[in-house]
């Protein structure tokens, strides 16, 4: 094939779709008269396009509805649950289901995230406060670490408040998750698992060495990171 045949062959689809300028079209037609290969290619391309237009859509091999129905119900129930909890005043006054997807999430998720911060205190505040709290209240330098008993107590308090904070945020996210892209949800879950693994490792290390100030502080820091990720994800449902 000559170079020019190659060049024109690359334009055959545009020719077929009537997307060429008049001058180009005439040139290509001129080329076609003398190039059998391009003529054949054009015929084949036409057949491909024709077949694409005749494709038949077969239903999926298994019935996908039951799972869809389940997920829909789950969303609805999550919302009713939230409504009962009294956090949906803003949405409830709106007509029917029309406000469902939006009015529900925006203020409430934000509010829930704020509540979490307000809920916590002491060391738990350090966890829940996320990154900015961390800046305001810098990590305790190793050399000035408080006594072991204080640390253990602190981490127990932190654990209790933390667990309830995490549980709350997870509930909020469960309601909001369908507003997020499923790939995003999977991604966040994957990264949460990564943090959970880090938390587990820190806990294990700490149980072997309970007086380790670094591990205590590190565990708290990593738990805070999880909370922070949950909070950021909750905020995403507002986008």
């Amino acid at each position: 094939m000559t170079d020019s045949a190659d060049t024109w062959r690359d334009r055959l689809s545009e020719y077929l779709d009537e997307a060429l300028e008049d001058s180009e079209r005439s040139e290509l037609e001129e080329h076609l008269e003398g190039c059998e290969e391009c003529r054949e290619t054009l015929v084949e391309l036409r057949q491909v396009v024709a077949r694409a237009g005749k494709l038949v859509d077969a239903p999926p091999a298994r019935d996908l509805w039951p799972e869809i129905a389940y997920r829909i119900r789950e969303t609805e129930e999550g919302e009713r649950h939230e409504s009962r909890a009294g956090t949906a005043e803003a949405g409830s006054s709106l007509a029917g289901r029309h406000g469902r997807s939006f009015t529900f999430s925006v203020p409430q998720l934000a509010a829930a995230a704020v509540t979490l911060v307000a809920l916590s205190s002491g060391i738990a505040w350090q966890i829940a406060g996320g990154f900015s709290a961390r800046q305001a209240e810098p990590a305790v330098p190793v050399a000035q670490a408080p006594a072991q008993t204080n640390l253990l107590l602190a981490s127990r308090i932190a654990n209790n408040d933390y667990e309830s904070a995490i549980a709350q945020l997870e509930r909020v996210l469960n309601v909001g998750r369908d507003r997020l892209d499923s790939a995003t949800v999977r991604k966040v879950e994957e990264k949460l698992a990564l943090i959970d693994k880090a938390i587990d490792e820190a806990r294990q290390a700490l149980s072997a060495d309970p007086s380790n100030a670094y591990l205590n502080r590190y565990l708290v820091g990593t738990m805070r990171r999880k909370l922070d990720l949950l909070r950021r994800t909750a905020a995403l449902t507002e986008l």
Binding site: V48, R51, H98
Partner: protein, 175 residues
């Protein structure tokens, strides 16, 4: 007999009021098309899940459907956005793990292009991702290059060249 589009409008209105039975009827009427789209765009392995994601998303957004377009086209847009969200994730993953062998020279490897007797749908599934998406959206679904360019975040020129590439590759299955 009432045409499907009218049935769709009625059911969409009911679904927007929370009638899941009406939404199931919409599902039954459209699932084959949406599943076909998902299968051709994303491959058979993910088609079921993406179809479910698309319908769940449609349920959540159905209040936004104002009946100005046909329900089918609206549902289609919703499904495409779900599928493309999935696609972008995969694309990013692929870029980070290994370069796609197809992209280097813009040419197919032999095994993919020359399998004889493969059915047309299977051949589409085996196209390189970008060429496949453009082909499905343009030749199967009838979108224009400038629309495809925006959906896939490519230029209209790339859309055209990928379409041509896809068609050229698919010639091999005509025999």
């Amino acid at each position: 007999m009432v045409p499907d589009t009218d049935l769709d409008s009625q059911d969409a209105a009911l679904a927007a009021e929370g009638d899941s039975g009406a939404f199931e009827r919409l599902y039954r009427r459209h699932v084959a098309r949406i599943h076909g789209l998902a299968r051709r765009m994303a491959g058979p392995d993910d088609a079921d899940e993406l179809t479910q994601d698309a319908f769940v998303r449609a349920w959540q957004k159905i209040a936004q459907f104002r009946g100005e377009a046909a329900f089918g086209s609206w549902l289609y847009r919703v499904a495409i956005s779900v599928i493309l969200g999935h696609r972008r994730r995969l694309a990013i993953h692929r870029e980070r793990t290994a370069p796609e062998e197809w992209n280097r020279e813009g040419r197919p490897s032999h095994e993919r292009s020359s399998e004889i007797g493969m059915d047309f749908d299977t051949a589409i599934e085996r196209l390189p991702a970008r060429a496949r998406h453009v082909f499905v959206l343009h030749d199967v679904e009838g979108y224009k290059h400038h629309e495809i360019a925006r959906m896939l975040k490519i230029t209209a020129g790339t859309s055209k060249s990928q379409l041509h590439r896809a068609r050229m590759l698919l010639r091999a299955t005509l025999a």
